[in-house]
Symmetry: C2
């Protein structure tokens, strides 16, 4: 077993100190961060020194939503989870792309839960928005490339509960950017994730091996 | 040219009266409704008499977001449009499914903009949430079927700016539920929508013909 560290992101200086402490602990192979920090988006400048040091340390970041966008409105039917979680992941990824975080830290590895949430289906819309803002001559802080360029800067888990979504994702980003997720011990998890991946007929042996282990092994530095 | 009518949905009685007036006008072949009405979700009981009459009249409903979920947070980078619009469409569809509107009005046709927004990629998650709520014995107002059963109750336009999204959508719902969109005259529209659809290599001739016209012709009763 290896684990991810949590950082007190509300207090960036304390987060930096904690990062130095945990980075040398045995078995720590990444950092878990929420998709927003209080009222701040992940692209807030106060977090850039943390990203700089995380990048230097070669630790991947795993994102996960906590208090999601529109949570007041998403009370019924578990919608905070069903809709809010994938929405918030897309908002976080959008800020990391559009505010230049991924440009500034080219080695930073960001892992998205729930198969990337709503991000993978919105990427054409992001590219169109980018093109529109270019045409308007706007965007003082626009990204260097069109948003779809950054899709492979993220890694994605398999928690989609849909073989078709995983197939779409494989075509979009490649199996070397996708890894098995369980979401254990939550009720929205997948209790038989290996069986789920193995049942996706369109995957070839190499893609299946990547998703079932190789992508994660490389990211978490578990390779022999 | 045929058109859609708008209704004063904030005042359901007035909306019903207006519906009767417009239904007999020449060229009116559907109704356009926002994805929320003030603070009310589309599944609010005050709207059910309107849906009942719309269903009787055989008019399709076209949804479109106005003031979107989390709009305060989505100010930067046109995110209200890039993210908020597809989010809000998914929220509206979720309410129509989970609150039983589609069960109660089995002939009601609902058309979703922007290729269904975030809905198509979240459907596995909806099914899992439905299964979880069944296991918990919750859900006094749960839908009769699992959410993916209702995917084909919606129709979808092509405004995704991504051939891969349309291909995914065709596999998910079928080309007989997808129709050409332009989003004319907005900057997030597609100026060459026929060319876009024609360029999607995976579509066969029948699917292309459905998307380019037959689906809309049937829905809008334009067939010879």
């Amino acid at each position: 077993l290896v684990g991810l560290a949590t950082l007190p992101m509300l207090y960036p200086h304390a987060a930096l100190a904690e990062l130095e402490r945990v980075a040398v602990l045995p078995g720590i192979r990444g950092v878990g961060i929420a998709t927003t920090i209080g009222d701040r988006e992940l692209s807030d400048r106060s977090f850039w020194p943390i990203y700089e040091r995380i990048e230097e340390l070669g630790l991947p970041i795993f994102l996960h939503p906590l208090k999601v966008i529109g949570h007041e409105r998403l009370q019924p039917h578990y919608f905070n989870n069903l809709l809010g979680n994938p929405f918030d992941t897309a908002v976080a990824a959008a800020h990391l792309i559009f505010d230049g975080v991924l440009d500034r830290f080219p080695q930073l590895e960001i892992s998205l839960p729930h198969a990337g949430g709503a991000l993978p289906i919105l990427i054409g819309r992001f590219d169109q928005g980018f093109a529109v803002s270019k045409r308007k001559g706007a965007a003082s802080r626009s990204p260097e490339h069109q948003p779809s360029h950054y899709l492979r800067r993220f890694t994605y888990d398999t928690i989609s509960h849909s073989a078709q979504v995983i197939q779409y994702l494989v075509e979009l980003v490649g199996a070397d950017r996708i890894m098995l997720g369980s979401d254990h011990c939550f009720d929205m998890g997948d209790r038989e994730p290996v069986q789920f991946v193995s049942s996706i007929e369109q995957l070839d042996a190499k893609q299946r091996a990547q998703i079932l282990g190789r992508t994660a092994a490389r990211l978490l530095r578990l390779e022999a």
